[in-house]
Protein backbone atom coordinates (compact mmCIF):
# COMPACT_ATOMS: atom_id res chain seq x y z
CA UNK A 1 0.00 0.00 0.00
CA UNK A 2 2.82 2.34 0.93
CA UNK A 3 4.55 1.59 -2.39
CA UNK A 4 1.42 2.44 -4.37
CA UNK A 5 1.07 5.79 -2.69
CA UNK A 6 4.74 6.55 -3.30
CA UNK A 7 4.49 5.62 -6.98
CA UNK A 8 1.41 7.78 -7.42
CA UNK A 9 3.13 10.71 -5.80
CA UNK A 10 6.18 10.15 -7.98
CA UNK A 11 4.01 10.22 -11.11
CA UNK A 12 2.33 13.47 -10.05
CA UNK A 13 5.71 14.99 -9.18
CA UNK A 14 7.04 13.98 -12.59
CA UNK A 15 4.12 15.67 -14.40
CA UNK A 16 4.51 18.77 -12.26
CA UNK A 17 8.25 18.82 -12.89
CA UNK A 18 7.88 18.37 -16.65
CA UNK A 19 5.21 21.05 -16.91
CA UNK A 20 7.27 23.64 -15.09
CA UNK A 21 10.78 22.86 -16.27
CA UNK A 22 10.91 25.71 -18.84
CA UNK A 23 11.38 29.24 -17.54
CA UNK A 24 11.05 32.46 -19.53
CA UNK A 25 14.58 33.76 -20.26
CA UNK A 26 13.62 37.10 -18.69
CA UNK A 27 17.18 38.43 -18.44
CA UNK A 28 17.67 37.96 -22.19
CA UNK A 29 14.26 39.45 -22.95
CA UNK A 30 15.12 42.52 -20.86
CA UNK A 31 18.56 42.85 -22.46
CA UNK A 32 17.05 42.70 -25.96
CA UNK A 33 14.35 45.23 -25.09
CA UNK A 34 17.03 47.55 -23.68
CA UNK A 35 19.09 47.19 -26.87
CA UNK A 36 16.01 48.01 -29.00
CA UNK A 37 15.31 51.07 -26.84
CA UNK A 38 18.94 52.14 -27.28
CA UNK A 39 18.59 51.77 -31.07
CA UNK A 40 15.46 53.92 -30.92
CA UNK A 41 17.34 56.57 -28.93
CA UNK A 42 20.05 56.48 -31.60
CA UNK A 43 17.27 57.45 -34.09
CA UNK A 44 17.46 54.13 -35.92
CA UNK A 45 13.89 54.75 -37.16
CA UNK A 46 15.19 57.83 -39.03
CA UNK A 47 18.58 56.66 -40.26
CA UNK A 48 18.15 52.87 -40.76
CA UNK A 49 14.34 52.45 -40.82
CA UNK A 50 14.14 49.07 -42.60
CA UNK A 51 16.69 47.38 -40.32
CA UNK A 52 15.04 48.83 -37.22
CA UNK A 53 11.59 47.63 -38.33
CA UNK A 54 13.04 44.13 -38.87
CA UNK A 55 14.39 44.05 -35.29
CA UNK A 56 11.05 45.24 -33.91
CA UNK A 57 9.26 42.53 -35.90
CA UNK A 58 11.66 39.90 -34.52
CA UNK A 59 10.92 41.01 -30.97
CA UNK A 60 7.17 40.84 -31.65
CA UNK A 61 7.61 37.26 -32.92
CA UNK A 62 9.66 36.37 -29.82
CA UNK A 63 7.02 37.79 -27.46
CA UNK A 64 4.39 35.73 -29.27
CA UNK A 65 6.59 32.62 -29.12
CA UNK A 66 7.01 33.12 -25.36
CA UNK A 67 3.25 33.29 -24.93
CA UNK A 68 2.89 30.14 -27.06
CA UNK A 69 5.22 28.28 -24.69
CA UNK A 70 3.46 29.73 -21.65
CA UNK A 71 0.19 28.36 -23.07
CA UNK A 72 1.58 24.84 -23.22
CA UNK A 73 1.67 22.16 -20.54
CA UNK A 74 5.31 21.35 -21.27
CA UNK A 75 7.29 24.53 -21.93
CA UNK A 76 10.45 24.76 -24.02
CA UNK A 77 12.32 28.06 -24.23
CA UNK A 78 15.57 26.82 -25.80
CA UNK A 79 14.84 27.93 -29.41
CA UNK A 80 13.50 31.25 -28.10
CA UNK A 81 16.78 31.88 -26.28
CA UNK A 82 18.66 31.39 -29.54
CA UNK A 83 16.30 33.80 -31.31
CA UNK A 84 16.80 36.31 -28.49
CA UNK A 85 20.58 36.10 -28.91
CA UNK A 86 20.22 36.81 -32.63
CA UNK A 87 17.81 39.71 -32.06
CA UNK A 88 20.02 41.21 -29.37
CA UNK A 89 22.99 41.14 -31.75
CA UNK A 90 20.83 42.64 -34.54
CA UNK A 91 19.55 45.42 -32.25
CA UNK A 92 23.10 46.32 -31.23
CA UNK A 93 24.15 46.37 -34.89
CA UNK A 94 21.17 48.57 -35.82
CA UNK A 95 22.13 51.05 -33.07
CA UNK A 96 25.73 51.13 -34.32
CA UNK A 97 24.59 51.51 -37.95
CA UNK A 98 22.23 54.33 -36.99
CA UNK A 99 25.03 56.21 -35.26
CA UNK A 100 27.31 55.70 -38.29
CA UNK A 101 24.61 56.82 -40.75
CA UNK A 102 23.81 59.85 -38.61
CA UNK A 103 27.49 60.80 -38.58
CA UNK A 104 27.60 60.36 -42.37
CA UNK A 105 24.58 62.66 -42.84
CA UNK A 106 26.10 65.14 -40.36
CA UNK A 107 29.34 65.27 -42.35
CA UNK A 108 27.43 65.65 -45.64
CA UNK A 109 25.42 68.53 -44.14
CA UNK A 110 28.58 70.22 -42.85
CA UNK A 111 30.22 69.94 -46.28
CA UNK A 112 27.16 71.39 -47.99
CA UNK A 113 26.97 74.21 -45.43
CA UNK A 114 30.56 75.17 -46.23
CA UNK A 115 29.88 74.92 -49.97
CA UNK A 116 26.74 77.04 -49.85
CA UNK A 117 28.44 79.74 -47.78
CA UNK A 118 31.04 79.96 -50.55
CA UNK A 119 28.36 80.26 -53.25
CA UNK A 120 26.48 82.93 -51.24
CA UNK A 121 29.70 84.91 -50.85
CA UNK A 122 30.48 84.62 -54.57
CA UNK A 123 26.94 85.69 -55.44
CA UNK A 124 27.43 88.81 -53.30
CA UNK A 125 30.56 89.70 -55.27
CA UNK A 126 28.92 88.93 -58.62
CA UNK A 127 25.90 91.04 -57.66
CA UNK A 128 28.16 94.10 -57.53
CA UNK A 129 29.47 93.39 -61.03
CA UNK A 130 26.05 92.60 -62.51
CA UNK A 131 24.64 94.94 -65.17
CA UNK A 132 22.15 97.47 -63.83
CA UNK A 133 19.98 99.83 -65.84
CA UNK A 134 16.19 100.13 -65.84
CA UNK A 135 15.37 96.45 -66.26
CA UNK A 136 18.52 95.14 -64.57
CA UNK A 137 17.62 96.89 -61.33
CA UNK A 138 14.34 94.97 -60.99
CA UNK A 139 16.09 91.68 -61.83
CA UNK A 140 18.77 92.39 -59.22
CA UNK A 141 16.07 93.28 -56.70
CA UNK A 142 14.47 89.87 -57.29
CA UNK A 143 17.87 88.18 -56.94
CA UNK A 144 18.56 90.05 -53.70
CA UNK A 145 15.22 88.86 -52.31
CA UNK A 146 16.05 85.30 -53.37
CA UNK A 147 19.47 85.51 -51.75
CA UNK A 148 17.82 86.72 -48.54
CA UNK A 149 15.45 83.70 -48.66
CA UNK A 150 18.42 81.37 -49.27
CA UNK A 151 20.29 82.85 -46.32
CA UNK A 152 17.19 82.47 -44.13
CA UNK A 153 16.93 78.84 -45.26
CA UNK A 154 20.59 78.24 -44.37
CA UNK A 155 19.91 79.72 -40.91
CA UNK A 156 16.93 77.35 -40.54
CA UNK A 157 19.12 74.43 -41.66
CA UNK A 158 21.74 75.46 -39.09
CA UNK A 159 18.98 75.47 -36.44
CA UNK A 160 17.97 71.91 -37.38
CA UNK A 161 21.65 70.91 -37.40
CA UNK A 162 22.19 72.36 -33.91
CA UNK A 163 19.19 70.39 -32.66
CA UNK A 164 20.74 67.21 -34.12
CA UNK A 165 18.05 66.87 -36.82
CA UNK A 166 20.66 66.29 -39.53
CA UNK A 167 18.31 64.78 -42.10
CA UNK A 168 16.06 67.88 -42.03
CA UNK A 169 19.10 70.14 -42.14
CA UNK A 170 20.46 68.23 -45.14
CA UNK A 171 17.19 68.54 -47.09
CA UNK A 172 17.01 72.27 -46.41
CA UNK A 173 20.61 73.03 -47.26
CA UNK A 174 20.39 70.94 -50.46
CA UNK A 175 17.40 72.98 -51.66
CA UNK A 176 19.12 76.24 -50.69
CA UNK A 177 22.24 75.21 -52.59
CA UNK A 178 20.20 74.42 -55.73
CA UNK A 179 18.69 77.92 -55.63
CA UNK A 180 22.02 79.62 -54.86
CA UNK A 181 23.75 77.82 -57.73
CA UNK A 182 20.90 78.79 -60.10
CA UNK A 183 21.36 82.47 -59.17
CA UNK A 184 25.12 82.12 -59.52
CA UNK A 185 24.70 80.79 -63.06
CA UNK A 186 22.22 83.54 -63.91
CA UNK A 187 24.58 86.26 -62.63
CA UNK A 188 27.58 84.83 -64.48
CA UNK A 189 25.54 84.64 -67.72
CA UNK A 190 24.36 88.26 -67.33
CA UNK A 191 27.91 89.51 -66.69
CA UNK A 192 29.28 87.49 -69.63
CA UNK A 193 26.56 88.97 -71.92
CA UNK A 194 27.65 92.50 -71.04
CA UNK A 195 31.32 91.70 -71.64
CA UNK A 196 30.61 90.37 -75.15
Amino acid sequence: MKNKVLMGLAAIAMVAFLSSCGKVPQAKVDATNTAIAAAQTAEAAVYVPAEFAAVQDSMKAINAAIEVQKSKLFKKFGPIELKLDETLAAANKVATDAVAKKEEVKKETEALMTEIKGVIEENGTLMKKAPRGKEGAAVLEQMKTEMATIEASVVEAQGSYDKGAYMDALNKVKAAKERAVAINTELKDAIAKVKR
Binding site: N3, A53, V68, L73, A138, A175
Partner: protein, 218 residues
Protein backbone atom coordinates in the same frame (compact mmCIF):
# COMPACT_ATOMS: atom_id res chain seq x y z
CA UNK B 1 5.04 -15.49 -6.23
CA UNK B 2 1.62 -13.89 -6.01
CA UNK B 3 3.15 -10.72 -4.53
CA UNK B 4 5.55 -10.56 -7.50
CA UNK B 5 2.68 -10.71 -9.97
CA UNK B 6 0.81 -8.05 -8.07
CA UNK B 7 3.83 -5.73 -8.11
CA UNK B 8 4.33 -6.32 -11.82
CA UNK B 9 0.71 -5.45 -12.53
CA UNK B 10 1.06 -2.26 -10.49
CA UNK B 11 4.22 -1.26 -12.37
CA UNK B 12 2.55 -1.92 -15.73
CA UNK B 13 -0.57 -0.02 -14.63
CA UNK B 14 1.51 2.99 -13.60
CA UNK B 15 3.64 2.80 -16.77
CA UNK B 16 0.49 2.86 -18.91
CA UNK B 17 -1.56 5.29 -16.88
CA UNK B 18 1.09 8.02 -16.50
CA UNK B 19 1.56 8.59 -20.27
CA UNK B 20 -2.18 8.20 -20.69
CA UNK B 21 -2.85 10.88 -18.10
CA UNK B 22 -0.25 13.12 -19.72
CA UNK B 23 -1.86 12.61 -23.13
CA UNK B 24 -5.29 13.39 -21.73
CA UNK B 25 -3.94 16.51 -20.02
CA UNK B 26 -2.32 17.68 -23.25
CA UNK B 27 -5.54 17.08 -25.17
CA UNK B 28 -7.73 18.99 -22.75
CA UNK B 29 -5.28 21.93 -22.57
CA UNK B 30 -6.75 24.80 -24.64
CA UNK B 31 -4.59 25.27 -27.75
CA UNK B 32 -2.91 28.70 -28.02
CA UNK B 33 -3.81 31.05 -30.91
CA UNK B 34 -0.35 30.59 -32.39
CA UNK B 35 -1.16 30.66 -36.11
CA UNK B 36 -3.54 33.62 -35.78
CA UNK B 37 -0.99 35.67 -33.85
CA UNK B 38 1.77 34.76 -36.30
CA UNK B 39 -0.46 35.94 -39.12
CA UNK B 40 -1.24 39.18 -37.25
CA UNK B 41 2.50 39.87 -36.84
CA UNK B 42 3.13 39.06 -40.51
CA UNK B 43 0.34 41.35 -41.76
CA UNK B 44 1.43 44.16 -39.46
CA UNK B 45 4.99 43.81 -40.71
CA UNK B 46 3.82 43.84 -44.35
CA UNK B 47 1.79 46.99 -43.70
CA UNK B 48 4.87 48.58 -42.12
CA UNK B 49 6.99 47.69 -45.15
CA UNK B 50 4.42 49.41 -47.36
CA UNK B 51 4.79 52.54 -45.20
CA UNK B 52 1.23 52.28 -43.88
CA UNK B 53 2.45 54.07 -40.73
CA UNK B 54 2.78 57.17 -42.93
CA UNK B 55 0.31 56.74 -45.80
CA UNK B 56 -2.50 54.92 -43.99
CA UNK B 57 -1.88 56.06 -40.44
CA UNK B 58 -5.42 55.59 -39.07
CA UNK B 59 -5.84 51.98 -40.23
CA UNK B 60 -2.28 51.09 -39.25
CA UNK B 61 -2.75 52.53 -35.74
CA UNK B 62 -6.00 50.54 -35.39
CA UNK B 63 -4.20 47.36 -36.49
CA UNK B 64 -1.49 48.00 -33.89
CA UNK B 65 -4.05 48.64 -31.14
CA UNK B 66 -5.87 45.37 -31.97
CA UNK B 67 -2.55 43.49 -31.96
CA UNK B 68 -1.59 44.98 -28.58
CA UNK B 69 -5.03 44.05 -27.22
CA UNK B 70 -4.56 40.48 -28.45
CA UNK B 71 -1.17 40.27 -26.71
CA UNK B 72 -2.50 41.74 -23.45
CA UNK B 73 -5.40 39.28 -23.45
CA UNK B 74 -3.10 36.39 -24.28
CA UNK B 75 -0.80 37.29 -21.36
CA UNK B 76 -3.83 37.65 -19.10
CA UNK B 77 -5.19 34.23 -20.08
CA UNK B 78 -1.78 32.61 -19.61
CA UNK B 79 -1.79 33.75 -15.99
CA UNK B 80 -4.93 31.70 -15.33
CA UNK B 81 -4.90 27.98 -14.45
CA UNK B 82 -3.93 26.13 -17.60
CA UNK B 83 -7.22 24.22 -18.06
CA UNK B 84 -9.40 27.26 -17.48
CA UNK B 85 -7.87 29.41 -20.22
CA UNK B 86 -10.04 30.84 -22.98
CA UNK B 87 -8.35 32.36 -26.04
CA UNK B 88 -11.51 33.52 -27.84
CA UNK B 89 -10.81 37.22 -27.22
CA UNK B 90 -7.21 36.80 -28.34
CA UNK B 91 -8.40 35.16 -31.55
CA UNK B 92 -10.90 37.95 -32.18
CA UNK B 93 -8.33 40.72 -31.70
CA UNK B 94 -5.69 38.88 -33.75
CA UNK B 95 -8.12 38.49 -36.64
CA UNK B 96 -9.17 42.13 -36.42
CA UNK B 97 -5.53 43.20 -36.39
CA UNK B 98 -4.77 41.09 -39.48
CA UNK B 99 -7.80 42.52 -41.28
CA UNK B 100 -6.90 46.12 -40.46
CA UNK B 101 -3.24 45.53 -41.40
CA UNK B 102 -4.26 44.17 -44.80
CA UNK B 103 -6.55 47.15 -45.36
CA UNK B 104 -3.81 49.54 -44.21
CA UNK B 105 -1.27 47.95 -46.57
CA UNK B 106 -3.64 48.10 -49.56
CA UNK B 107 -4.68 51.64 -48.73
CA UNK B 108 -1.06 52.69 -48.32
CA UNK B 109 -0.10 51.32 -51.74
CA UNK B 110 -2.96 53.21 -53.40
CA UNK B 111 -2.23 56.40 -51.43
CA UNK B 112 1.47 56.24 -52.29
CA UNK B 113 0.77 55.80 -56.00
CA UNK B 114 -1.79 58.63 -55.99
CA UNK B 115 0.40 60.96 -53.95
CA UNK B 116 3.41 60.26 -56.17
CA UNK B 117 1.38 61.08 -59.27
CA UNK B 118 -0.23 64.18 -57.73
CA UNK B 119 3.12 65.48 -56.50
CA UNK B 120 4.79 64.89 -59.83
CA UNK B 121 2.01 66.77 -61.64
CA UNK B 122 2.10 69.57 -59.07
CA UNK B 123 5.87 69.95 -59.42
CA UNK B 124 5.49 70.17 -63.21
CA UNK B 125 2.72 72.76 -63.02
CA UNK B 126 4.60 74.85 -60.45
CA UNK B 127 7.72 74.69 -62.64
CA UNK B 128 5.60 76.20 -65.42
CA UNK B 129 4.39 78.97 -63.09
CA UNK B 130 7.96 79.69 -61.95
CA UNK B 131 9.09 79.84 -65.59
CA UNK B 132 6.25 82.27 -66.36
CA UNK B 133 7.11 84.43 -63.33
CA UNK B 134 10.76 84.52 -64.38
CA UNK B 135 9.81 85.34 -67.97
CA UNK B 136 7.23 88.07 -67.31
CA UNK B 137 8.01 89.48 -63.88
CA UNK B 138 11.75 89.23 -63.33
CA UNK B 139 12.24 92.81 -64.52
CA UNK B 140 8.78 94.03 -63.50
CA UNK B 141 8.56 96.38 -60.50
CA UNK B 142 6.74 94.03 -58.11
CA UNK B 143 6.23 94.89 -54.45
CA UNK B 144 8.81 93.68 -51.94
CA UNK B 145 6.13 91.49 -50.33
CA UNK B 146 5.28 89.76 -53.64
CA UNK B 147 8.98 89.22 -54.43
CA UNK B 148 9.49 87.68 -51.00
CA UNK B 149 6.51 85.35 -51.47
CA UNK B 150 7.77 84.27 -54.90
CA UNK B 151 11.20 83.63 -53.47
CA UNK B 152 9.85 81.55 -50.55
CA UNK B 153 7.62 79.65 -52.97
CA UNK B 154 10.59 78.78 -55.17
CA UNK B 155 12.56 77.55 -52.14
CA UNK B 156 9.68 75.37 -50.95
CA UNK B 157 9.30 73.96 -54.47
CA UNK B 158 12.98 72.99 -54.42
CA UNK B 159 12.64 71.37 -50.98
CA UNK B 160 9.54 69.49 -52.20
CA UNK B 161 11.49 68.23 -55.22
CA UNK B 162 14.26 66.89 -52.96
CA UNK B 163 11.87 65.10 -50.57
CA UNK B 164 9.93 63.75 -53.60
CA UNK B 165 13.13 62.22 -55.00
CA UNK B 166 13.73 60.57 -51.61
CA UNK B 167 10.25 58.98 -51.80
CA UNK B 168 8.89 61.05 -48.92
CA UNK B 169 5.68 61.91 -50.73
CA UNK B 170 3.67 63.14 -47.76
CA UNK B 171 6.39 65.57 -46.68
CA UNK B 172 6.79 66.65 -50.30
CA UNK B 173 3.04 67.17 -50.62
CA UNK B 174 2.94 69.48 -47.58
CA UNK B 175 5.74 71.61 -49.01
CA UNK B 176 4.09 71.65 -52.44
CA UNK B 177 0.80 72.87 -50.95
CA UNK B 178 2.61 75.81 -49.33
CA UNK B 179 4.68 76.48 -52.47
CA UNK B 180 1.55 76.34 -54.63
CA UNK B 181 -0.23 78.86 -52.42
CA UNK B 182 2.70 81.30 -52.41
CA UNK B 183 3.48 81.01 -56.11
CA UNK B 184 -0.04 80.98 -57.56
CA UNK B 185 -1.31 83.88 -55.42
CA UNK B 186 1.82 85.91 -56.24
CA UNK B 187 1.51 85.09 -59.92
CA UNK B 188 -2.20 85.95 -59.98
CA UNK B 189 -1.57 89.24 -58.17
CA UNK B 190 1.29 90.15 -60.46
CA UNK B 191 -0.82 89.25 -63.48
CA UNK B 192 -3.74 91.35 -62.21
CA UNK B 193 -1.33 94.22 -61.60
CA UNK B 194 0.04 93.92 -65.13
CA UNK B 195 -3.47 93.67 -66.57
CA UNK B 196 -4.62 96.82 -64.78
CA UNK B 197 -1.52 98.55 -66.13
CA UNK B 198 -2.48 97.68 -69.68
CA UNK B 199 -6.17 98.41 -69.04
CA UNK B 200 -5.19 102.01 -68.24
CA UNK B 201 -2.79 102.19 -71.16
CA UNK B 202 -5.32 103.61 -73.74
CA UNK B 203 -6.30 106.32 -71.25
CA UNK B 204 -2.67 107.26 -70.67
CA UNK B 205 -2.09 107.24 -74.42
CA UNK B 206 -5.04 109.57 -74.84
CA UNK B 207 -3.63 111.90 -72.18
CA UNK B 208 -0.20 111.89 -73.84
CA UNK B 209 -1.69 112.70 -77.26
CA UNK B 210 -3.85 115.46 -75.77
CA UNK B 211 -0.82 116.93 -74.01
CA UNK B 212 1.22 116.84 -77.24
CA UNK B 213 -1.62 118.53 -79.15
CA UNK B 214 -1.96 121.20 -76.48
CA UNK B 215 1.75 121.89 -76.48
CA UNK B 216 1.75 122.16 -80.31
CA UNK B 217 -0.74 125.02 -80.03
CA UNK B 218 1.81 127.01 -78.08
Amino acid sequence: MRKRWRDLIIVIAVAVSVPLIIMILIRITPSPPEAEMENAILQLSKAGTKRADTYSKKLYTEAKIFYDSAMVNWQKENKRFIFFRDYQKVLKFAELSSKKSTQAADNSVVSTINLKKTNSEKIDSLDIIVAAINKYFNDYPLSAETRSRISRGKMLLEEARITYKKGEYLKSNRKLTDAEYLLTTSYDNALANLKSYFDSYPLWKKWVNATIKESEKW
